[in-house]
């Protein structure tokens, strides 16, 4: 079983991102479970959501403590949240950021990928300059990093779940799939190219 943790801010569609990923993975033949952190959501405040997937039925119904990978929808969260909390060694950290983080030390022992999801969202008219909607690009990135679910499955999930700007969201997911930068495993001495 693989467990994914999403970090975002209230209003960014973080919960929808986790649902989209679950639906795309279900399309790809996996058993899935997705849920938000069970709290009171406020706009702009840090939020978390989770996805579990497996070829077998998923029995466990508890919070996720040791995710295999994390998705960070807003790079400003890196300043005050430890996104590596409980993360398994060599897990991927996928960050929405136009550039690679300056300081790679906090990511030592994990794999890093980044994508300019804000830029992609704006280019595809998703949200506004101050509030770009980045969840569909982040799912496109996930599909590239893990080579699954297929972009067909991602497209089907977007068509099912996203109420508006469907074509723009599909295009954004595809753009992010193409444009993500895979840095790979961060070693203490330096960086391995993926």
């Amino acid at each position: 079983m693989i467990e994914i943790r999403f970090h975002g801010r209230g209003g960014q569609g973080t919960v929808i991102a986790s649902i989209l990923l679950a639906k795309a993975l279900f399309q790809a033949g996996y058993q899935v479970q997705s849920f938000p952190v069970f709290g009171v959501e406020r706009r702009g405040a840090p939020v978390e959501a989770y996805v579990r997937f497996d070829k077998e039925n998923i029995l466990i119904r508890t919070n996720v403590y040791n995710p295999d990978h994390v998705v960070v929808q807003d790079c400003t969260l890196l300043q005050n949240i430890d996104v590596t909390r409980g993360l398994k060694p060599e897990g991927w950290i996928i960050i929405n950021s136009p550039v690679s983080p300056d300081d790679l030390a906090p990511f030592t022992g994990f794999k890093l990928a980044f994508v300019d999801a804000n830029g992609i969202a704006l280019r595809n008219h998703l949200g506004t300059r101050t509030h770009p909607i980045v969840n569909t690009p982040m799912i496109g990135v996930f599909a590239r990093v893990f080579n699954m679910p297929s972009m067909d499955a991602v497209e089907a999930a977007i068509r099912e779940e996203v109420p508006a700007e469907v074509e723009g969201n599909i295009k954004a997911a595809q753009d992010a799939y193409n444009e993500v930068q895979l840095i790979g495993l961060i070693k203490e001495a330096g960086v391995d190219k993926a």
Partner: protein, 385 residues
């Protein structure tokens, strides 16, 4: 067709498929999404029901008692404080013998104000004469809601289908949503055994003197008992059409078990994982899931547990001054059996605290390593305060 649905939407889909005539509910977290889905279905014409907006849960149930008395199918949903506010009318629903169906999303009672899961709200209503069915996943929620209408309408009692806040109500997972046609076959339109005629109004609900009241109560008690066999027949039929059955209770690996965990709600699902892991390490552990809480299936529980040395009952609820409520019921069911099992009672997960695989394993080892229970109720995971 299987779709990835939120637990709340599994409830709403079942209500849609059941072709409910009248819905009345007052929103409260974590039940809110159920009400949102249903009001949207009614607004869009996906469902052809009357959705009656009211100013409180008390009025929601009062509305449905009135509607059901005229012979229509009715549904409501609530949680916690909302259910507590309905308390007077919970009794009334039963006494009036109208088969209202309710989805009850388990939420802790305040204060301290808490929106997270805890079974005390529904279990505190155990003496109101509502049938209570506890579910562990979205599929079971959908199936049980559909079955609840058949059951309630058969025995003329209200039915509460209970699901955990968030761990079930807000969790998305694949759920097989049946087509309308087989559901129509399984659940035909409601044919009330009695109803008031709105075109010929009469006085209703007059005084019942001591010479008749006791018989009316006895009839309710009998209907409650009958609900067990009726539910089994309903499940047989449901399995024939939809391929799924759950049982009043479900024993897992109980035949050779030395310790059986007794569970309800989503803790059952996580416990399945835990007992699989423990079995793989050679531990003789089993699981007894209790789905039907009212009526309490005493005979079948006795039958399953009679030769088990130790039973560990896991309660996400507390009756202050007594113990966990499932533990009380299991003890009462077993006490007249000669040489009955030792019953260990554990209090866990109140107010939404997570019941992890580690907590469940801890329960197993404590039960194994103690010859007798240290206390009637063992509270796990308490922090120093």
């Amino acid at each position: 067709m299987k779709r990835v649905l939120e637990g709340s939407q599994a409830v709403a889909e079942a209500v849609r498929l059941a072709k409910v005539d009248v819905i009345s509910a007052y929103p409260i977290t974590p039940q809110t999404h159920i009400v949102e889905f249903l009001s949207e279905y009614c607004a869009k014409g996906t469902m052809n029901a009357r959705f009656l907006r009211v100013e409180s849960e008390h009025s929601a149930l009062a509305t449905l008692i009135g509607a059901a008395t005229t012979g229509v199918r009715t549904f409501t949903a609530t949680s916690s404080q909302g259910l507590a506010l309905m308390h007077e009318l919970l009794h009334w629903t039963t006494g009036a013998r109208v088969p209202v169906v309710m989805a009850e999303v388990n939420r802790a009672l305040g204060p301290g104000w808490n929106i997270w899961t805890d079974q005390t709200d529904s279990l505190a209503q155990r003496d109101t004469g509502w049938i209570q069915l506890y579910c562990e996943n979205g599929q079971e929620v959908l199936d049980t809601i559909i079955q609840a209408f058949r059951l309630g309408e058969w025995v003329n009692l209200p039915v509460m289908v209970v699901l955990d806040a968030f761990f079930l109500s807000h969790t998305y997972e694949p759920v097989d949503v049946p087509d309308q046609e087989p559901v129509d076959h399984f659940l035909p339109p409601y044919e009330p055994k009695f109803q008031v005629d709105t075109k010929d109004p009469r006085a209703f609900g007059s005084l019942v003197a001591p010479n008749a009241y006791m018989e009316m109560r006895y009839n309710i008690a009998e209907a409650m008992e009958e609900a067990q066999s009726c539910f089994q027949k309903i499940e047989d039929e449901y399995k024939g059409i939809f391929g799924r059955r759950y049982g009043l209770v479900e024993p897992v690996y109980c035949d050779d078990a030395e310790i059986v965990l007794v569970t309800s709600g989503t803790i059952t699902s996580t416990s399945r994982q835990v007992i699989n892991d423990l079995r793989a390490r050679g531990e003789k552990v089993g699981l007894l899931k209790i789905k039907l809480f009212r009526p309490f299936p005493v005979d079948i529980i006795r039958q399953i547990l009679k030769s088990i040395p130790k039973v560990a009952v896991i309660d996400r609820n507390i009756s202050f001054g007594a113990s966990g409520i499932f533990a009380q019921e299991v003890r009462a069911a077993l006490c007249n059996l000669a040489g009955h099992p030792l019953v260990f009672g554990y209090i866990v997960g109140l107010g939404g605290r997570d019941v992890t695989t580690d907590v469940l394993e801890d329960i197993y080892w404590r039960t194994k390593n103690n010859n007798v229970p240290e206390k009637e109720s063992i509270w796990l995971g308490l922090q120093e305060v």
